[in-house]
């Protein structure tokens, strides 16, 4: 009679703990989000799954490796993760996936396929994969910032690094519609930084500008454009064109040697004769611009708005060149939001 036969008929000792196990599941259950599967790459507007738990997910490879090495204390050492896996179906599914993939790495004699020697560049990479990566990096930055806020720790540098990489990678996308999609949540996430956004004492923006979508990077002269018809647009002058959604105002940013200059037109009557405070919320994410006055949230216009409602004022110096496509795209990302508000005169 083999061992199995001998054990037949005996109660499974683990059954003794079944009620406690079921109770643990009840205590630890995390209600999954309605859309538990992470956002598909083909979904353009949707957000990524919020039911992923960064702190635990990141421990999975070390936990799995400990299990693969038969570490007897693995479950105690990773007890918080283990208890989390009881109640979180998303992280448990990731655990299974990672376990299986890591198991393939420790098979004796396994022959592994290395990448070929072909030359690959951003230009040859699928634009969908570039957009997707940018959105993932921005989403990851958001998760990092939200977790830091919950735990009262400072992860600003980490989140900033992720956003910088997203902006940098998006600059390889030549179509501005794709760049806009890639950086869809950038402004929202950037406002999560400690001390970011508008100072509490600031009034709401009089006008909020965003870059105008265009097909090409620099040669705008011949492009069809729904707006920016009234702004003075010298032929062939590289620029970033802006528009204010609600008021349908227009503007542009040009470059005079190192200096970036803002040009606004048709500003309302109430702003005329006033100096303006210009706020570039993403100005502290990328560092290649030395902002006038040092604070991208409060750049003071050098002159007041003229009687005809126009304003031309410097913003800051940079070595980037609007005439260079990739630099143009970086700067365009930086000006994804530009607010103006009047400075009250005494």
């Amino acid at each position: 009679m083999n061992e199995r036969d001998q054990n037949e008929g005996l109660p499974d000792p683990r059954n003794e703990y079944l009620p406690l196990a079921q109770w643990l599941q009840q205590v630890l259950a995390i209600t999954p989000q309605p859309n538990a599967e992470l956002t598909s790459i083909t979904d353009n507007g949707a957000r990524f799954g919020d039911d992923y738990h960064m702190e635990f997910y990141q421990q999975l490879p070390d936990f799995v490796l400990a299990l693969l090495h038969d570490d007897t204390q693995a479950t105690l050492r990773f007890a918080p993760l283990l208890f989390h896996l009881i109640g979180c179906p998303t992280c448990h599914a990731a655990y299974l996936e990672i376990y299986d993939a890591m198991r393939a790495t420790v098979v004796p004699g396994e022959i592994h396929l290395l990448a070929g020697n072909g030359t690959h560049s951003m230009a040859t990479t699928s634009t969908r994969m570039l957009v997707y990566l940018c959105r993932l990096l921005i989403n990851q930055a958001e998760t990092v910032l939200r977790q830091a806020r919950q735990k009262h720790i400072d992860n600003d540098a980490w989140a900033r690094s992720l956003l910088q990489q997203a902006i940098q990678i998006s600059s390889h996308l030549t179509q501005s519609t794709l760049r806009q999609r890639a950086l869809h949540d950038l402004v929202e996430v950037a406002t999560l930084f400690d001390g970011a956004g508008e100072p509490a004492e600031q009034s709401p923006a009089a006008h909020s500008y965003t870059p105008v979508m265009s097909g090409g990077a620099t040669r705008h002269g011949g492009k069809t454009r729904r707006r920016t018809e009234t702004i003075d647009r010298p032929a062939e002058q590289p620029a970033i064109y802006l528009q204010s959604g609600l008021s349908e105002l227009e503007g542009r940013i040009t470059q005079n040697e190192d200096m970036l200059e803002l040009h606004l037109v048709e500003l309302d009557q109430k702003l005329r004769g006033h100096f303006l405070t210009i706020s570039v919320p993403l100005g502290s994410i990328l560092e290649p611009v030395r902002w006038l006055g040092g604070n991208p949230y409060a750049i003071r216009s050098q002159v007041p708005v003229s009687e005809d409602g126009s304003l031309t004022t410097p913003l800051g110096k940079t070595e980037l060149r609007i005439s260079n496509p990739e630099d143009h795209n970086l700067l365009e990302a930086l000006f994804k939001k530009l607010d103006v508000r009047p400075i009250e005169t005494m």
Binding site: L20, L28, T42, Q58, L76, I86, V106, A115, M122, L137
Partner: protein, 300 residues
């Protein structure tokens, strides 16, 4: 151009195109009849890219902690990616209701380099099944594993700061018939709980569950149990004295960081089980040794 995990962590912009090219090539290989469906290929590649981002490898730099993936050899890292792609491709094939046998047929018809890739069958036969295949199995392990059950006991005891919540959980455990777990807690907190009315227990139960979730998933709890175990296991008595000592380095072994050991020790100090002020060697009395053992071991 080959890439490494290190490249993806520190030089994402340069290495991402190579990663995509590799994943795409593998995805086309495993997707079989869907190999020319760009959407399906992107689904597979996108899934792996997302996983690597969530694991904080892509663009993580020095900001995110390194994991086992960073310590893989290049060959191991590629094997990890390859297997991940294969699993996701099978998942896509299943979702499109294509026969699983398609995959095997494709393997047989594969290019010459594919003969080096009989992963699935080899790994499954050598390594058997995956531990904790379902959340239920994880829960059963946690409930039946002595140290983890003791951790649960420790977290239940922490509820004593709110006796009604402790009472609510005790009642649940009584109904479950979890006698062993209850016995010691009951002895210890019998006086505290005596005379408490049984009203509104459901509300207290919800609060208690929330606290338990937090306690069980915070790292200081399990580190305290682990360090208490190691203190009792590796502590040496000074000759002719009642004092026990153990170096913090010994407590770390190969699997805990110095910070984790310190977290565990601080937790034990907060429990009143140790007097330790950051010294390299932890010293404690034989009485404390008993209490530590009691902290680690389940009530007998």
């Amino acid at each position: 151009m080959p890439f490494t995990a290190h490249d993806l962590r520190y030089d994402l912009e340069r290495s991402y195109p190579s990663l995509c090219a590799y994943l795409q090539q593998r995805a086309q290989r495993y997707l079989g009849p869907l190999a020319f469906d760009a959407n399906e290929v992107d689904q597979v590649v996108g899934h792996i890219v997302e996983q690597l981002t969530r694991l904080q490898l892509l663009g993580g730099g020095d900001h995110s902690p390194q994991t086992a993936l960073d310590r893989f050899s290049n060959a191991q890292f590629y094997a990890f990616l390859n297997r991940s792609v294969k699993n996701k491709a099978i998942d896509r094939l299943r979702k499109r209701r294509l026969p699983a046998s398609t995959l095997a047929e494709l393997e047989a018809l594969g290019n010459s380099d594919e003969e080096n890739n009989p992963m699935s069958t080899v790994t499954n036969s050598i390594w058997g099944s995956t531990p904790f295949p379902t959340p239920e199995e994880v829960a059963l392990h946690a409930a039946s594993h002595q140290e983890l059950r003791n951790l649960l006991k420790h977290c239940i005891e922490e509820l004593s700061a709110a006796p009604r919540q402790l009472q609510a959980v005790m009642q649940e455990l009584t109904e479950l018939g979890a006698g062993d777990l209850l016995k010691e807690i009951d002895e210890k907190y019998h006086t505290l709980l005596a005379g408490l009315p049984l009203a509104h227990l459901s509300q207290h139960k919800d609060h208690a569950h929330k606290k338990l979730r937090h306690c069980l998933q915070k790292s200081s709890s399990n580190l305290a149990v682990l360090v208490a175990f190691r203190l009792t296991e590796y502590g040496h008595y000074f000759t002719g004295t009642e004092e026990v000592s153990v170096a913090t380095q010994t407590l770390a072994q190969d699997d805990l960081s110095k910070q984790e050991v310190q977290t565990g020790l601080k937790h034990l100090v907060s429990e009143g089980l140790l007097d330790w002020h950051g010294e390299e060697t932890v010293r404690f009395s034989s009485i404390q040794h008993k209490h530590l053992a009691r902290f680690y071991e389940e009530g007998e």
